[in-house]
Symmetry: C2
Subunit: 337 residues, 2 copies
DNA sequence: CTGAAAGCGCTAACAT
DNA sequence: ATGTTAGCGCTTTCAG
């Protein structure tokens, strides 16, 4: 069995309470007592029992994390930001993966609630009645990292999905492209909706109408990029540039173009989104949107802790800044004045 | 506040105890009582308080997971296997990242112990006195997934690192290569040691001596592959094939070779290890070693649960099978007879 | 099949 | 600066 406070109390002659105070770092304790107790605790190899502590104090110092898609390195980096920051503030991480399935997300929310987590950081689906209801009834604070839930937008920290896709498409339109293929992500998540919206907006602002046959709906995985381009080329579809939902899709796209002897960027320009670390090693290096992944995780935790400490604090949608990174998969780059 | 057993007891007229039994699925309860209690529990939205339960029952149904390097998608897939399997058996996952630092691993072990986890799955460093001591004194079962700790080898589930690197190097030697560059991983982990050993063994069995100047020690990241090949080419080092510690390194290697106008596999053959999902999208598609990542996570959990249920069970090193996958980054492939 | 009582290890609240 | 008391929500043990 593990060493308990009462054993240390016995050993030192002080009361359990005093021992507890010392080990929690309470100030009003004499130096002598404090050092003695700490010494004995260390000698016996005391490790605090969080379960007992949390039962009494009503906080577990555990943050629940609901992640979406483990096959995308994007989320690994977000979670690293979450974990580092949480640790810094004395919180630990209970992790659940949903693989973008509503039922998994429901189960995760309930489980985390049962575990009495102090707060939840989630990468949620956009418009599911079941999960929305669970979030709304959650007795603890929650933050959505990088995504929105319909009706609960103020709980989100986002990264200007619409604007960045709009920018890259606008850039391509300005560079003479008229027929830009857009490969979407899953319709179930807000990023897909927002980014697609950016694509459409860019066309409209340029006074043009996007061709719906150039908008291809996919799940946003690497093989979707590969398969989509293969198919479109076989159909002899007419397009001169490809904007991808994310970098993974772009990687599949580049592969297909290479195999079909279409040179990038000379005959086809390609852009992704996310700026994964592998993207600068693709051939050619990928032009993409830098999304602050680690920082997103970090800010989500900071915001969450703020709400844990002050339950009155109103929720407010926030946006992190992104920026376009021009590499070799596009021809020109903007002149910075 | 959350709904408690006592509220359900009040509502139904039964004792707390009976309610507890029903909700835990105890058999010896009348159908009628059972259904009634379950109904009320559902109506009130009861969620069990794991902290309270675990305090009394001395098990938390939490598994601690100590992961190593979040920048490598390899681990994401292992952890997915862990999480899925754990969930299936009613366990949840407390995740900690070490980023391959001994002090982080120490802190993680202690923290998980404090959280009273029922067992630990770790991706550890190989030879650290501090962590080894902590593992040895752990009051709960633990399994090392895909790696060894010196002196605690029997706690590991491995994947024949030595043999698979030996195989690929042997294959290259048989195909006329004499000077094969080997780019290692970090010396602090057992995989690097074992795989390097496989490289040396292959040479010896072929009656040759490996040239030490062709063994380059790195941290096993993508930029190490890129930087190493750039450097070796600048030094005009003499080699005709490259075997990489892992697929990430190989990706960097391919990039450097491309930029230096060395065609793969015609003038330089390249092999990786891990078979990440992105590896078949590299240019050219990467020849590599399939390591059963998801399965590794799964088996680690199964083995761990076996030890949780039976603390007498002896530990025994296990090995999962791997196999070579020949793709486009090597010229020939073995004839299967 | 069901209930009463005790207690897991800790902390909050009050006392001195 | 330290001690006493009570109790968090649940499960275990013993009783019936």
């Amino acid at each position: 069995m593990n060493v308990t406070l009462s054993q240390i109390a016995d050993e030192t002659g002080f009361s359990i309470n005093t021992v507890s105070r010392v080990l929690r770092g309470d100030e009003r304790i004499s130096m002598q007592t404090s050092t003695q107790i700490k010494e004995v605790a260390a000698r016996l190899g005391y490790v605090p029992n969080y379960a007992a502590s949390s039962m009494r104090s009503h906080n577990t110092h555990i943050l629940g994390v609901i992640s979406a898609d483990s096959s995308n390195p994007f989320f690994a980096e977000v979670i690293l930001g979450v974990e580092d920051t949480a640790k810094q503030y004395g919180y630990h991480i209970l992790l659940m993966n949903t693989e973008e399935k509503a039922e998994n997300e429901c189960a995760a929310i309930k489980t985390l609630q049962g575990r009495q987590v102090d707060g939840i950081i989630s990468i949620p689906l956009y418009d599911e009645d079941t999960t929305r209801k669970l979030y709304m009834e959650l007795p603890v604070p929650y933050i959505f990292a990088g995504r929105k839930v319909r009706g609960l937008e103020n709980h989100s920290i986002l990264h200007r999905d619409k604007e960045s896709t709009d920018q890259i498409v606008t850039w391509l339109l300005e560079n003479g492209h008229n027929r830009i293929l857009y490969i979407t992500g899953p319709e179930s998540i807000s990023n897909s909706l927002d980014r697609l919206c950016g694509y459409v907006n860019a066309y409209k602002r340029a006074g043009k109408e996007p061709d719906k046959s150039l908008i291809i709906k996919t799940d946003g995985h690497i093989d979707d990029g590969y398969g989509t381009v293969n198919r479109m080329l076989k159909l002899q579809a007419d397009f001169t540039a490809i904007v991808c939902f994310n970098d993974l899709v772009a990687m599949g796209v580049l592969k297909s173009l290479y195999e079909n002897n279409l040179s990038v960027p000379e005959t086809m320009e390609v852009a992704g989104c996310d700026n994964l670390s592998i993207s600068q090693y693709m051939q050619p290096r990928l032009t993409t949107v830098e999304v602050p992944k680690y920082r997103l995780g970090k800010e989500a935790v900071l915001e969450l802790i703020r709400h844990i400490r002050n339950s009155e604090l109103p929720y407010e949608t926030r946006n992190l800044d992104t920026r376009l990174i021009f590499r070799e998969s596009t021809r020109n780059r903007p002149v910075h004045t």
